[in-house]
C-alpha cells in the first residue's frame, strides 16, 4: 500500500514503514532505548532523504519516549532538578545543532555529516558496550566489587547544586555540558541520545541507576520536542505522515520487546545491544567507503 509523504514529496510503501517502526520499536522495548539511532539510518537506507529522515526521526523519538517518561514519572523515578539542568544544556545544544544542520544542508554535506556522526558515535558507544558487557559476563562468577562514587576534578567545579533524588551535590557545569552534547547529536542525528545519556549519567555524573532511565527520558522528550520545532521552522523537513506511520508500528513493537526484554539478563542485553550498534555503524561505514553506483547526485537548489 503506497502512501504519499506530503513533506518528502514522494510515495513510499506504508507497510514497509509500519514494519520498520515495529522492528525498531521491538528492539527499543527489548533494550530499553529510544531506537532513534536505528530508525534514522534505516529510513535513509529505504530512500528517504537524509534531512527528512533526521528531522522526522527526532519527532518519532519524542512520541516513542513519552509513555516511558509518564510511567517513570508516576513511579517517582525522575530527578526533575537534574532533568532541568540537562535540559538547559540540551536546549542550547539542539538550537546550535539545528543551525549546524541547516549549514550542512546548504553545503550539500548532510549525507556525509549524518553518516560520519553515526559512525563515530555508534562505533565508539558500541565498542564500549561490548567490552564492558563481555567483561561483566566473564567476571560474573567472581565477586564483583561495586565501584563506589569516587571524587575527582569534576567535583571541584563551582555552582554546586544539591540533587536530592540523585543523592548528589555537584556543580551544574558537567550535567549542562552532557545535555549540550546530547542536544547537538539529537539535532544532527535525529536521535534522542538515550544510549549515550544513560552511560554518561551513570559513569560521569555518578547518578544512581534507579533514576537514570526516567531522568534521561525527561531530557530526551523535551530535547526532541525542541529539535522537532526548530527543524520545522529552520529546514521544514519534519514529515508528520512519516512520523505517525513509524509510531503506529513502533508503539506496538515496543510492548512485545519489553515483555521479552524482561527475561534477558542485563549483561547479555547490553552485549547484544552493543553488537547491534556496531553493526549499524559498520553498515553506514560501508556505505561511505563503497564506490557509489552513481558518480553524480542532484537535488533542488536551496
Amino acid at each position: 500500500m503506497q502512501v504519499y509523504l506530503p513533506i518528502a514529496e514522494m510515495s513510499v510503501d506504508a507497510l514497509l514503514l509500519l514494519g520498520i517502526g515495529f522492528g525498531v520499536g521491538w528492539l527499543s522495548g527489548l533494550f530499553g532505548v529510544g531506537g532513534g539511532f536505528l530508525m534514522t539510518p534505516l529510513l535513509i537506507l529505504t530512500g528517504i532523504p537524509s534531512p527528512i529522515a533526521v528531522a522526522s526521526g527526532a519527532c518519532q523519538t519524542l512520541g516513542a519516549s513519552v509513555s516511558g517518561l509518564m510511567s517513570h514519572w508516576r513511579r517517582g523515578n525522575v530527578d526533575a532538578r537534574m532533568g532541568l539542568t540537562l535540559l538547559a544544556g540540551g536546549f542550547i545544544g539542539s538550537a546550535l545543532g539545528v543551525q549546524l544542520f541547516a549549514l550542512l544542508r546548504r553545503l550539500g554535506q548532510v549525507d556525509l555529516a549524518v553518516a560520519f556522526f553515526y559512525i563515530v558515535v555508534l562505533g565508539s558507544v558500541g565498542a564500549l558496550m561490548v567490552r564492558e558487557s563481555l567483561g561483566a559476563i566473564l567476571n560474573r562468577k567472581r565477586d564483583g566489587q561495586v565501584r563506589l562514587h569516587e571524587h575527582f576534578w569534576m567535583h571541584g567545579l563551582p555552582l554546586k547544586v544539591r540533587y536530592r533524588k540523585s543523592r548528589l551535590y555537584i556543580s551544574i557545569i558537567p550535567p549542562m555540558l552532557v545535555g549540550f552534547g546530547i542536544g547537538i547529536l539529537s539535532a544532527v542525528m535525529g536521535v534522542g541520545g538515550g544510549f549515550m545519556l544513560v552511560p554518561a549519567m551513570i559513569y560521569l555524573l555518578g547518578m544512581p541507576t534507579a533514576v537514570v532511565i526516567g531522568t534521561s527520558l525527561f531530557q530526551v522528550v523535551f530535547v526532541s520536542a525542541n529539535v522537532t520545532l526548530l527543524q520545522s521552522i529552520q529546514t521544514g523537513s519534519v514529515d508528520v505522515v512519516l512520523v505517525v506511520l513509524l509510531l503506529a508500528g513502533g508503539v506496538s513493537g515496543a510492548q512485545f520487546g519489553a515483555a521479552m526484554g524482561a527475561k534477558l539478563r542485563g549483561e547479555e542485553t547490553r552485549f547484544l545491544l552493543g553488537l547491534l550498534v556496531l553493526a549499524v555503524a559498520g553498515l553506514l561505514l560501508w556505505g561511505l567507503v563503497q564506490t557509489p553506483s552513481q558518480p553524480f547526485v542532484t537535488e533542488p537548489a536551496p
Partner: protein, 256 residues
C-alpha cells in the same frame, strides 16, 4: 441609436475570419483528457492522455505512405537544481564540486509518431527545443564541465521526470491520434504546458497549446501548506501528534 452602433459593429467584423470559421476544418484539434492531476495521500504517479484529430491522414512512415505527423511536448514548472559530483577523499566518498542550473524544467516529455530528429530539420528542431538534447541547460557561472549537464540529463531520465519517445503516438483510423504522458510520483506541483505540433514535409504547419495543472489536494495539500506557511504552528502540531500517538499506543497495548 444603440441599434445603429450594433449594426455598425457587425458590419465592421472581418469577413474572412467568419468564412474561415464556417468553411475550413482546422488542420489540427487536440485536447487533454484531464486538466488537473490531483496529488492525494495515495498518489503513486499518474499519466495524462493527449488526444486529437487532424484534417488530413496521419502517417508514421511518410517516406513510403505520405501523410501528416504529430509531435507532442510537455514541460513542467522550471526550478533551479544543483548537481554534485562524488569524490573520494581518504577512501570516503563525499559530495565534491557542484554546478547549479538555474532553469531546469521539472518535467519534460516528448513523443511523436516518429522520433523528433527524424521529423524535423536540425535547425528547426533546435530552435523549437524539441528533444532532451535541445534543452537550454546552462550552469550558473558557466564554468561547469559538460559532465554535470550529462549527469543531470541522465538522472532526470532515471527518475522518469524527463522522457523522450517512451511510446510513439498511437494513431487509429488514420486521423485520430492519442498519447499517454507518464507522470511519476515525484512530479512537482504547478502548471504544465503541452504543445501539439502538426508536421508536414518536415515543417510545422499547425500547433496547439494546452495547459494542465498538478496540484496537491486533501490532507496532503493542507499538511504541505501548513508546513510552509506556519512552520512554527506545524512544528507544535507535530509535537502534539507524536506525543498523543505515543501515549495512546501505550494505553492501547498495555491491556492487550
Amino acid at each position: 441609436m444603440r441599434r445603429a452602433i450594433l449594426l455598425a459593429l457587425l458590419l465592421s467584423a472581418p469577413l474572412p475570419a467568419l468564412t474561415k470559421l464556417a468553411l475550413a476544418q482546422p488542420a489540427l484539434v487536440a485536447e487533454l483528457a484531464e486538466t488537473t492531476v490531483e496529488i492525494t495521500t495515495g498518489f503513486t504517479g499518474a499519466s495524462i492522455l493527449v488526444f486529437g484529430t487532424t484534417a488530413r491522414p496521419i502517417s508514421a512512415t511518410p517516406a513510403t505512405a505520405p501523410g501528416d505527423e504529430i509531435l507532442i511536448v510537455a514541460t513542467g514548472p522550471v526550478q533551479p537544481m544543483v548537481v554534485r559530483r562524488k569524490i573520494r577523499v581518504l577512501g570516503f566518498w563525499l559530495n565534491g564540486p557542484s554546478a547549479t542550473f538555474p532553469n531546469v524544467p521539472g518535467y519534460y516529455a516528448i513523443v511523436g509518431t516518429r522520433a523528433p530528429w527524424e521529423m524535423l530539420a536540425e535547425p528547426d528542431r533546435l530552435e523549437r527545443r524539441l528533444g532532451l538534447d535541445t534543452l537550454p541547460l546552462r550552469a550558473r557561472g558557466g564554468q561547469a564541465s559538460p559532465a554535470f549537464r550529462a549527469a543531470l540529463l541522465d538522472l532526470k531520465q532515471q527518475e522518469g521526470l524527463w522522457a523522450e519517445q517512451v511510446a510513439p503516438v498511437a494513431v487509429s483510423g488514420g486521423q485520430l491520434f492519442n498519447a499517454r504522458l507518464p507522470l511519476p510520483a515525484t512530479v512537482a506541483t504547478g502548471e504544465y504546458a503541452v504543445q501539439v505540433l502538426l508536421v508536414r514535409q518536415s515543417r510545422v504547419v499547425a500547433r496547439q497549446e494546452l495547459i494542465f495543472n498538478v496540484q496537491r489536494v486533501g490532507t496532503a495539500a493542507s499538511i504541505n501548506a501548513l508546513a510552509r506557511q506556519q512552520p512554527a504552528l506545524y512544528g507544535l502540531l507535530c509535537i502534539a501528534i507524536a506525543a498523543f500517538a505515543g501515549w495512546l499506543g501505550s494505553v492501547v497495548f498495555r491491556r492487550g
